[in-house]
Symmetry: none
Subunit: 191 residues, 4 copies
DNA sequence: TATGAATGAGTCTTCATTCAT
DNA sequence: CATGAATGAAGACTCATTCAT
């Protein structure tokens, strides 16, 4: 692991558990074992570390979305698979998930960074747009649909992390069904 | 308006727009027109102000939920009305909504405060539990259902506030329909 | 007990146990049951309270010094009695003793107050001066003798208060004997 | 002189002359020429500085006690030499002396620090214990004897510093004689 | 590249004192 | 005489960032 990675990993962990303001650079230095000066050799500022983490998270997220999704699969099956991929990523990367939830909206994240991060969501957005166009999904504003489904995954993830809910296959299917029933076009006889 | 209210209102506004750490007590003092010492006469600490705001928000939220909801109404109509109530509250009280979203999860909010705040959600939870029991809603874990629907309202609210979406009656109905279609029990012939 | 006495008594107790800076006026107000404004009605400032306590202590001290001391008694007997009087006063008035020891030297005590307090020591000083003149005591600088003996009493008092030493008559006699042997004129055959 | 020494020396001087509460860290910083942050780099808190000074003082004190004291010297000669050593140390290190007198008893000094400081007194205590055992000194509680003699030195020192007394060899001898006459065992014929 | 001591502006909080009632 | 809410200046301490090595 490079020093740069040591820094971002340590920062991610500390920031998620303590908050940004409660995580001084000196602590990142001590816990990561990288000297203050060295941190500033690799990053211009504390904000830059946070922006870097933001991008790392989005990137890894983007890399997971389309796993095991094949164009040849039925639309609904792909919907389910993508939903599961996102959930699994969130579930298995708790630190990254919590980072996104709690710090992703802060003005610390620059508009540039935010723009760079958006690209990783494109496959999902395209997929949903396709569903609307094929009239498999309801003809609803694309943003609303995206955010709603995303929110559904987030809801399950939070319950999973809080351990108030044991994640079973049944439960997972039920959760996805809420999304599917919510957005798919029941008037389309083909479905 | 009492001094105490002046303090919390000013703090709410500043904190939502700038963040907690970016809002020094001196600024709250200056903007509210209440002297530093007086603030500390009414609140033990900055944290206590934030906890007070948290409770104020939850309380006002709780007071809005059941507006125009009558036991004699059909279940679905009540579902729609409650959904609208929550959305309207969020939409009209942008500061409070953003406060909840961005700061509600922080450890600054004490467990005691959090517990006190929970009570205001009870009517909704009871309403959903009733729906499940009557088999009008799917037989799904109550928490998952609650969080999911809550997330749906949040999704629309955020788009509304960001002005990327113009809120029309049609859109609102569509958004609620996503929730309803997602959770209601289509196998129940009575429905 | 008048309000004024309530204030000084409470202040004495709190200040001795916590220190001056660690005893806010608000606490004196709360513990004494006298409102802030009322305190400032009776005393111009916090310093004035402390100066008042200083004088009260010295006054009570002065009133105890010569108890049971009779001009007709032998010099040595009077020496022993005065020593005991001072010790007893210190021993029985621990708060006052500690106040004098710990705060009596501070610049908070004005020079005026200090001068006013000096008068209460005069009987002892006169008594020692008389002993020197009569050649019963060594011909030593009067101040040195006074301070030395005073220090001897203080030493025993502190051990007594700290409970590391149980005060018996024997011990007390031994302690006084140190003083007496230290300052009396052994070359004076009359003795 | 290291930065750490600059800090404690400046603090010692300011605190003795102004008091602890009257000496803000900002002043220590300005007068010592060491930045605020640097002070806190070397010391955890203002209290830690004070505890450090306490130990420094005790240490230097301990190093002076036994100067020019030789086991082969007569007991009385050693008694006089040690008394002089302590006095000289107090006299020449007025700041340290006044620090000990005025702040040494405060609860700011931790029990740990106090314990650490005790060790430097051991040589004197051992010396006095030896005198008692040899029946050269009166058979009196060791603590009482120690504190009494210590108080005698303090008395002279204070007069010396206050300049109300000019310190001559005669005076010094007289002062020590008070102690010696006070504690030595006149019934021991060997003496 | 790497180090970590040094910097000082900025923060929360305290508290003696005042004043309207 | 009595009250206690209100005031704001001042203090201890933090921490992102720099720089000499």
């Amino acid at each position: 692991m490079t020093k740069k990675e040591k820094i971002t990993q340590t920062a991610l962990q500390l920031i998620v558990n303590q908050g940004i303001q409660e995580t001084p650079m000196s602590q990142i230095s001590k816990v990561s074992g990288v000297a203050m000066g060295t941190i500033y050799h690799h990053f211009k500022s504390k904000n830059e570390i946070i922006n870097q983490i933001y991008l790392d998270v989005k990137k890894e997220f983007g890399a997971s979305i389309m796993k095991d999704v094949d164009k040849k699969m039925e639309y609904k099956a792909r919907f389910y698979q993508i939903w599961k991929n996102i959930f699994n990523f969130f579930y298995q990367h708790e630190l990254m998930f919590r980072f996104s939830q709690h710090f992703g909206h802060l003005p610390i994240i620059t508009e540039t960074t935010r723009q760079e991060g958006l690209v990783f969501y494109e496959p999902v957005i395209d997929f949903l747009a396709e569903g609307i166009q094929l009239k498999i999904l309801k003809n609803i504003d694309l943003q609303l649909m995206t955010e709603t489904i995303y929110g559904n995954v987030v809801a399950l993830t939070q319950l999973a992390h809080s351990k108030t809910l044991k994640i079973t296959n049944t439960l997972l299917e039920q959760a996805i069904a809420i999304s599917w029933d919510g957005v798919h076009n029941s008037k389309n006889l083909e479905q």
